[in-house]
């Protein structure tokens, strides 16, 4: 149908100085009446509008003009393609925020939109005031992306520090930028763009547009590696695309998992949620610990689902994180968060890969990798066809090491409890001051992914003890009991919110009792537990962390010494419940890690 362009050259870049004015919007609707109305409304908001009457046309346009749009608004009912499919494509390939519209305001439809990654769902008739604020979705996404970048950079930094080699292609030391402002210090994709902006509203990471051929390479690599073993680095290596970074792949992987998971979920939607295969997993493991471990790993892998609307790259960040040899052992006893398909996907893969990378032998490594995210959705494990319960089980088992003990991890199934046991290596604390920031960022980043960055607030509980295995397949027992059993586990409660980086920074530094609240994702309950900054990973123990700290990670591990800082779990609030099927699906991604 019709396509009109507001600007003559057609490839305008955002006027960052005037943000949100100049926001480049693509409107897709087969109803010419609404197309005309929306165009006018958006123009009145000083946005740059391009209209499109067909979904395929819109996709072509998006592909042609890579980085030519900031946000997409699409009707759900399109004649040539289901609006939700378009939504998925856009999310996968272009990673743009997408707003859905419809005359139908039925909850189920709205939920579907959210599940597919829509960042908002508008009902017709649409008022102009609803369109005025769509820029917030763009900004939010950018901020999250920046955080992801920082996270990655932080990880890389640590990795480099540890290994003395720069494995990252374009890493830069993270500087203490204010995450809130979303300042972009370095464009992860700097290969494509060296723009750096100080204005968060103008932050524009060069997006990798996942064109069909690129995506095909990606899928090929994924299949080659084996979906359950896949990890960004492996994929990247296999793809052999020189300009692609691990972050790009990680973020894309997350979305891909989301997508596959959604397909899977749709098939199983009728299955009872309670059908988690947790029991399977549990049975396979000597104890539920491994599940925890898995979930922890997954946690690390989990990036905020962004889902919704915007697939967060955080999950993938996690994955990368893991690749960093467990510098950041993300021990997040996160039950397989099914709702967050992305999580699942991430969990399974990163977990495995990370396990391997992280020295599976380490108890902590085990922890991470073996963490199974129990998801309430029946198919929680498999976000995609390849992911299957077995996979989960597999993950649990192989990686389970007696040493790492999440024995006591309560594996109750909490729909949306996400507990992230993030154990930060002490290293940063001790090494250099600047690393603190990095750590914090790292922590933040870790937390973020785990907690579904899409949520602005989220609390990651970093102690194994705190892992609320609500979703743990292992034991649908009472969470509280288990938790209490983990007393000796030092935990870092990270409740990170956008404004608390400084807090984290301050809190992280050598204070065991700091209550860091990293609110990652809104779904996390706030843990009152003490924040322990320390890494509890076996081999990756920061210098300062004594063996006891390491032990602390072992929930029920007999090897745990009592010297581990005591973490009072009682004060932890584990009951962070997510409606399993809530509409905050995308957001849930972050919050689905329930351990």
């Amino acid at each position: 149908m019709m396509m009109t362009m507001e600007n003559n050259n057609g490839f305008s870049s955002p006027r960052s100085d005037a943000f949100p004015a100049g926001l480049r919007v693509l409107v897709v609707d087969d109803d010419p009446t609404w197309l005309k109305i929306l165009e006018k409304m958006l123009k009145k908001c000083s946005y740059e509008v391009t209209t499109c009457g067909l979904a395929r046309e819109a996709l072509n346009l998006l592909r042609e003009r890579k980085d030519g749009f900031d946000i997409v608004i699409s009707d759900v009912n399109m004649p040539d393609m289901d609006g939700f499919k378009l939504l998925e494509h856009v999310g996968l390939e272009m990673d743009l925020p997408v707003i859905m519209m419809s005359v139908d305001g039925e909850t189920s439809r709205v939920m579907k939109g959210v599940q597919h990654g829509a960042c908002d769902y508008l009902l017709k008739p649409i008022r102009m005031k609803e369109l005025r604020n769509i820029w917030q979705h763009v900004l939010r996404k950018r901020i999250h992306e920046v955080r992801d970048i920082e996270f990655h950079e932080g990880i890389d930094e640590i990795y480099m520090t540890r290994n003395g080699s720069d494995k990252s292609e374009d890493r830069h030391l993270p500087s203490g930028t204010d995450p809130i402002s979303g300042k972009k210090r370095k464009d992860v994709d700097n290969k494509h763009d060296d723009r750096e902006c100080n204005d968060p509203s103008s932050v524009k990471k060069v997006r990798v547009v996942w064109a069909v051929d690129l995506h095909q390479k990606f899928v090929k690599a994924v299949n080659q590696i084996g979906f359950d073993k896949v990890g960004p680095k492996k994929i990247l290596d296999l793809m052999g695309v020189p300009w692609l970074t691990r972050e790009n792949v990680a973020s894309h992987l997350q979305k891909y998992r989301l997508y596959l998971g959604r397909l899977q979920k749709e098939k199983e939607l009728t299955a009872s949620f309670g059908g988690m295969k947790q029991s399977d997993i549990t049975s396979k493991e000597p104890n539920g610990n491994h599940c925890l471990q898995n979930s922890v790993n997954k946690q690390c892998d989990l990036t905020s689902g962004n889902h919704g609307t915007q697939g967060n790259k955080t999950i993938l960040q996690n994955v990368d994180f893991k690749m960093h040899e467990g510098d950041m052992k993300c021990i997040a006893p996160m039950p397989m968060a099914e709702p967050k398909k992305a999580m699942n996907g991430d969990n399974s893969d990163p977990q495995k890969s990370s396990n391997k990378k992280m020295g599976v032998n380490h108890s902590f490594g085990q922890l991470g990798s073996d963490l199974q995210y129990a998801t309430t959705v029946p198919k929680q494990y498999s976000w995609n066809e390849e992911c299957s319960e077995t996979q989960m089980n597999r993950e649990c088992k192989p990686h389970f090491r007696p040493k790492s003990v999440f024995n006591a991890l309560p594996l109750t199934t909490l729909p949306q409890n996400i507990q992230l046991d993030y154990i930060r290596p002490r290293l940063p604390l001790n090494s250099r001051p600047s690393s603190l920031e990095r750590d914090n960022k790292l922590a933040e980043a870790d937390m973020m992914p785990a907690y579904m960055k899409s949520r602005s607030q989220g609390i990651g509980q970093l102690s194994p003890a705190e892992c609320k295995a609500d979703r743990f397949p292992v034991q649908p027992g009472s969470k509280s009991t288990n938790v209490q059993g983990l007393k000796s586990i030092p935990s870092a409660v990270w409740s990170m919110n956008n404004h608390s980086l400084d807090q984290i920074l301050g809190g992280c530094s050598e204070s065991e009792d700091t209550s860091l609240n990293m609110t990652c994702g809104t779904e996390f309950a706030s843990w009152d537990g003490n924040l322990q900054c320390g890494s509890l990973q076996g081999d990756f123990q920061p210098l300062n962390v004594g063996p006891e700290t390491v032990e602390s990670f072992n929930y029920g591990n007999p090897e745990l010494t009592s010297e581990v800082p005591t973490f009072s779990y009682d004060s932890l609030k584990f009951d962070f419940e997510y409606p399993f099927d809530s509409m905050e699906y995308p957001v849930i991604d972050q919050g689905l890690f329930i351990t």
Binding site: D31, P32, T33, W34, K36, I37, K40, M41, K43, K44, N77, S102, V103, D104, K124, P125, R127, M128
Partner: protein, 140 residues
């Protein structure tokens, strides 16, 4: 002066359209969008609507002529049409759409047919009224 007379007439007509339930708030939204850049915006949108709705009505007629009637499809098409109506604030027509959809859900073919007739009538009436209205406003 002629202008002011037309203005008054236009204003009255407009008020009537609202009072009698032909138009709803959405129409005002359109009016607010009208500006110097698009001085005839409302009229343009209405034109687009009527062009497109004629097509949709034809589709509905075709669907209704089938035997057996696919009520689900009919409901879908009507849903689209209703969405369009909501764009210009065609209140009465929208009401008929809803009624029609209710009959579809009840799989009441006769009810659908009756409502459809009513719908087409309202659709045509509104068109005439709006055309008159715009003519008046143009003369202001």
């Amino acid at each position: 002066m002629e202008g002011s007379q037309f203005q008054r007439q236009a204003a009255n007509m407009r008020k009537t359209l609202f009072d009698q339930g032909y138009l709803d708030e959405q129409f005002i939204q359109l009016e607010e969008l009208q500006d110097d850049a698009n001085p005839n915006f409302v009229e343009e949108v209405v034109k687009v609507f009527y062009r497109d709705s004629a097509r949709m009505i034809r589709n509905i007629e075709v669907a209704m002529a089938k035997t057996p009637i696919d009520f689900e499809k009919l409901d879908d098409v009507m849903h689209q049409f209703k969405g369009s109506c909501s764009g210009i604030g065609a209140k009465k027509v929208k009401g008929e759409c809803t009624q029609f959809q209710d009959y579809c859900k009840a799989e009441n073919a006769e009810g659908c047919t009756r409502t459809f007739q009513s719908l087409k009538q309202e659709h045509a009436i509104l068109k005439t009224k709006l055309e008159n209205y715009f003519q008046l406003t143009r003369q202001c």
